[in-house]
């Protein structure tokens, strides 16, 4: 396994680097096509009353009057050496802006991921073991509800109820534990939907399998059945969804942070997009690409560990179905206990 893993991992890391660089280039060209930049849009605010000549001198200081390729070469050169440059909007170093924002976003995204997983697993568990008359239907409809209610609506509802209504947190300090919890809830609820759907579908599929019927007929405990025989085979697609959720968390963080008034990568992006602050956008997009690629890489590397039937390096390995083996040994245990 290790022999096939090495080249496989190396190839994937190479791909990751290319993806990050392409994201960097793509951002550069997309932003460059758009009209304006933060410097001129600030200077052109009629309130300021600057002449075109004034604007041109400032713009020239920032090198924005240089040809595109010269700007790109400079920016790429700095990027490769780990220098993200100076934000055009705030004139502060981009690395400082990102470092200041990152902690809050990681906290929010981590908490939201936890919320999403707990929610999804709880819902999925409920759909299998709650009697159909007592809420199973409601549970099954939850994921589509979660998906159909926009993130910002959930956020505004939570703020209205828990901040303004119950006073658990305030808009002035949303980084308190309660503030973080509700922001994570707002972000985690829609994200949990896909995971729950996939878990439910797989659990439904697995529970129709013969070995489960056998296990049930032998009186295997419910939790044990769920954890040992249903979750594991159902978790492979869930890992894929989990990896994709990282993208959703990054995107959702943008809205959640700005609604909850948290400073993070999301609000940083929001400000940078609104003002076309290229150095900040490039750094954040590259960072996001990096995170996304790394997470997906980890997911890919985790597959073979979850299910030996997954092929690595293009070579198929014939393995007897894991579930069957497990169930056999488990049944033996149960029988011996009886």
């Amino acid at each position: 396994m290790l022999r096939t893993y090495g080249p496989y991992a190396l190839r994937r890391i190479g791909q990751a680097v290319v993806v990050v660089l392409l994201a960097y280039l793509f951002t550069f060209f997309v932003i460059s096509i758009l009209p304006g930049d933060p410097i001129t849009s600030t200077l052109r605010n009629p309130e300021n009353g600057f002449t075109e000549e004034d604007i041109a001198r400032i713009v020239s200081y920032y090198g924005l009057d240089q040809p595109l390729l010269v700007q790109l070469a400079g920016s790429l050169g700095r990027f490769v050496t780990g220098d993200f440059g100076i934000s055009l909007r705030s004139n502060l170093p981009v690395s400082q802006l990102i470092l200041d924002a990152l902690g809050s976003t990681l906290q929010l995204a981590g908490a939201a991921l936890l919320v999403a997983i707990v929610l999804a697993v709880t819902i999925a568990y409920g759909t299998q073991f709650l009697p159909p008359r007592f809420g199973q239907g409601v549970l099954r409809s939850l994921p589509s509800l979660f998906l159909s209610v926009p993130n910002f609506v959930i956020g505004l509802l939570l703020i209205n109820v828990f901040a303004f209504g119950l006073g658990l947190f305030t808009m002035i300090d949303t980084e308190t534990p309660w503030g973080t919890f509700f922001a994570a809830l707002a972000l985690g609820i829609p994200v949990s939907a896909q995971l729950a759907e996939v878990l439910i579908a797989n659990l439904d599929h697995e529970s129709r399998q013969e070995y489960i019927a056998v296990a049930r007929s032998r009186g295997l405990g419910q939790s044990r059945l769920f954890l040992r025989h249903l979750v594991k085979p159902s978790s492979l697609p869930a890992v894929t969804v989990l990896a994709l959720m990282v993208g959703e968390l990054l995107g959702g963080a943008l809205i959640t942070e700005s609604i909850f008034g948290r400073v993070g990568i999301g609000t940083l992006v929001e400000g940078a997009v609104a003002s076309q602050d290229l150095p900040v956008l490039q750094a954040v997009v590259s960072l996001a690409a990096l995170v996304f690629v790394v997470v997906n890489l980890l997911a890919d590397l985790a597959y073979p560990l979850l299910d030996p039937r997954v092929t690595v390096g293009g070579r198929a390995r014939a393995v007897s179905p894991a579930a069957d083996q497990d169930i056999r040994s488990d049944l033996q245990e149960e029988v011996s206990i009886v």
């Binding site: 304006g36 705030s90 409809s141 505004l156 002035i172 948290r262």
Partner: protein, 553 residues
């Protein structure tokens, strides 16, 4: 499968409605309580912290590049002082400058400074410091990314000199009646020479920016908040405020909350004291609940359209006049705004000392407007749109993205003018795109425009293109001799009373030519406030100032 989906959808919908109803109930209960009325006779209490929720903290903190922004201006106003104070009626009074003298020809100015004023790092605010400030307001350091101050009369500026510790002389190459008023402008903030000498990227760190104001920066986080704490040894507030010593409040926290309803709801639920820039529709209900609403006007131009005299159909004065008389300003006030807003009386705000009432020159009169269009040869077609020589009477409006209510106003105007036979289309852009496509574009027929200023002399710079840097709002260039003469007289005036007479003539002329179509007086800063906060003052630029403010609870 499809039925199952539909059932799920319906269930989801019902659950959602239940949730929303529940939330509305709770929110309703929470905001039901009205804050107790403040005791007017109570003496100011020391101490207290207030929270000011703001839509944005703007872009950079480089003082010259940000101090006249609508957002950062709040913070600069408390961290720094100005030489002169301007009140809401445009009256100038001493602040850091104790007195000033002007030469007969208004080219030399002497500023006498208050003794003992210091920056918060202990260095003196003396004549040398003032000279360093005036120099950078006039010139900036554009090669290092530091702007000059946009409205400073830079074209005439020669030099500033420190005569002694507390006396500064400033020289101009031509009469500059606007110099002294400009010292009260929100861009003209006094910073320590050490701050001014810093490179742009270090000035962008707010904690490096040292002023002499009643508050100092305690902490700040980019895009999030700025916390100001009071300076105990402060004792040189504007004379007009009659306030001795330091501020009453201990701290002011400016916190960015982008969503407008969250700002007002925070004040409603007692979690914050001031919500900046609520939408006009929210104001009346808040007032009914007992919250303080302040809609101070700034000195400057009203909100309205500068018409481009070089493009059809506005190359014809009759059509321009038809637009003036075709707009129902009362409907704009009652539909888009509240009773706190006022109709325009001229193209400058009525609190500008030189403003005179010319509202009859552009009164709403649809019959007169229709007659004017008939006279100009525009004939109404079957579809209600007027045509002339095969051309439709059409133009495009570009809502001003710097004004939240602009699009609503433009939609209403488009509707009102279409009743007269105009075909008006709207194209709305965001700030960067607007800057690229609309500002400075000579083909735009009507520019929705407004601007604050502290001196009516500024008007001259927008009317023609006689001087380099003139904005030529109506694209008349130098073709209108009357306009040239009037704006020259305004620009080179050496006496305020004489200039006021010319200003009246100029307003009459510009409106008679229908170069400018006034809409409403501008309110660009709206404050929703906890009634327990007393003693707030608003200067001529409509910024809230908390030197004299205190909490009654």
């Amino acid at each position: 499968m499809s039925t199952q989906h539909r059932t799920r959808g319906r269930r989801a919908l019902l659950t959602g409605i239940g949730l929303i109803a529940g939330v509305a109930l709770i929110a309703g209960c929470a905001s039901g309580g009205t804050a107790p009325a403040a005791d007017e006779s109570a003496a100011p209490t020391e101490g207290g912290d207030i929270t000011f929720l703001i839509d944005s903290l703007g872009a950079t903190w480089i003082p010259n590049n940000s101090s006249i922004s609508s957002y950062q201006g709040h913070i600069w106003g408390h961290v720094t002082d100005k030489l002169i104070y301007v009140d809401a009626e445009g009256n100038l009074s001493p602040w850091v400058a104790e007195s000033w003298e002007e030469s007969e020809d208004k080219t030399e100015f002497t500023i006498n400074l208050k003794d003992g004023v210091t920056f918060s790092d202990g260095t003196p605010l003396d004549a040398a410091a003032v000279v360093a400030n005036i120099d950078i307001w006039a010139k900036g350091r554009p090669d290092e990314g530091i702007n000059r101050i946009g409205l400073f009369p830079a074209a005439n500026y020669d030099r500033a000199e420190a005569v002694d510790e507390t006396t500064v002389k400033v020289y101009f190459t031509a009469p500059t009646l606007s110099f002294i008023p400009t010292l009260a402008y929100h861009g003209s903030i006094l910073l320590s020479p050490e701050t001014l000498a810093l490179p742009a990227d270090q000035q962008a760190d707010l904690s490096n920016d040292i002023g002499s104001g009643p508050f100092v920066v305690e902490s700040w986080a980019e895009g999030d908040s700025v916390v100001l704490t009071k300076r105990d040894d402060y004792d040189w507030g504007p004379e007009a405020l009659n306030h001795d010593g330091a501020a009453y409040l201990d701290s002011i926290t400016y916190k960015q909350v982008a969503e407008p309803t969250l700002r007002t709801s925070s004040v409603q639920s007692g979690q914050a004291d001031v919500a900046y820039n609520a939408s006009p529709q929210e104001l009346d209900p808040l007032k009914d609940e007992g919250f303080e609403i302040a809609v101070p006007r700034y000195l400057g131009f009203v909100n309205g359209y500068a018409l481009n005299t070089t493009v059809a159909p506005f190359d014809d004065p009759l059509v321009r006049q038809a637009v003036q008389h075709g707009i129902d300003r009362d409907e704009i006030l009652s539909t888009v705004y509240t009773s706190d807003w006022q109709a325009a009386e001229s193209f400058i705000q009525s609190n500008v000392p030189e403003a005179t009432d010319h509202s009859d020159q552009f009164a709403f009169d649809p019959d007169q407007a229709a007659d004017l269009l008939d006279e100009a040869g525009w004939v109404e077609g079957a579809d209600g749109v007027r045509t002339k020589d095969g051309q439709e009477l059409a133009f495009t409006l570009y809502p001003n993205p710097y004004l939240a209510t602009s699009q609503a106003v433009d939609e209403l105007v488009a509707q009102q003018l279409s009743d007269l036979g105009f075909a008006v289309t709207l194209e709305a852009y965001d700030v960067p795109t607007y800057g690229q496509k609309v500002i400075g574009n000579a083909a735009i027929p009507a520019n929705e425009i407004t601007r604050s200023f502290v001196d009516v002399g500024t008007v001259a710079g927008v009317l023609t293109s006689q001087k380099k840097g003139d904005e030529d709002w109506f694209k008349v260039g130098t073709s209108d001799q009357t306009l040239n003469d009037l704006s020259n007289q305004i620009a080179t005036a050496t006496d305020r009373d004489d200039r006021a007479a010319v200003a009246d003539e100029l307003q009459e002329y510009v409106l008679a030519q229908a170069y400018f179509v006034p809409l409403t007086q501008i309110v660009q800063r709206v404050y929703v406030q906890n009634p327990a906060l007393e003693g707030v003052t608003y200067n001529g630029l409509a910024y809230a100032y908390y030197l004299d403010a205190y909490l009654t609870e």
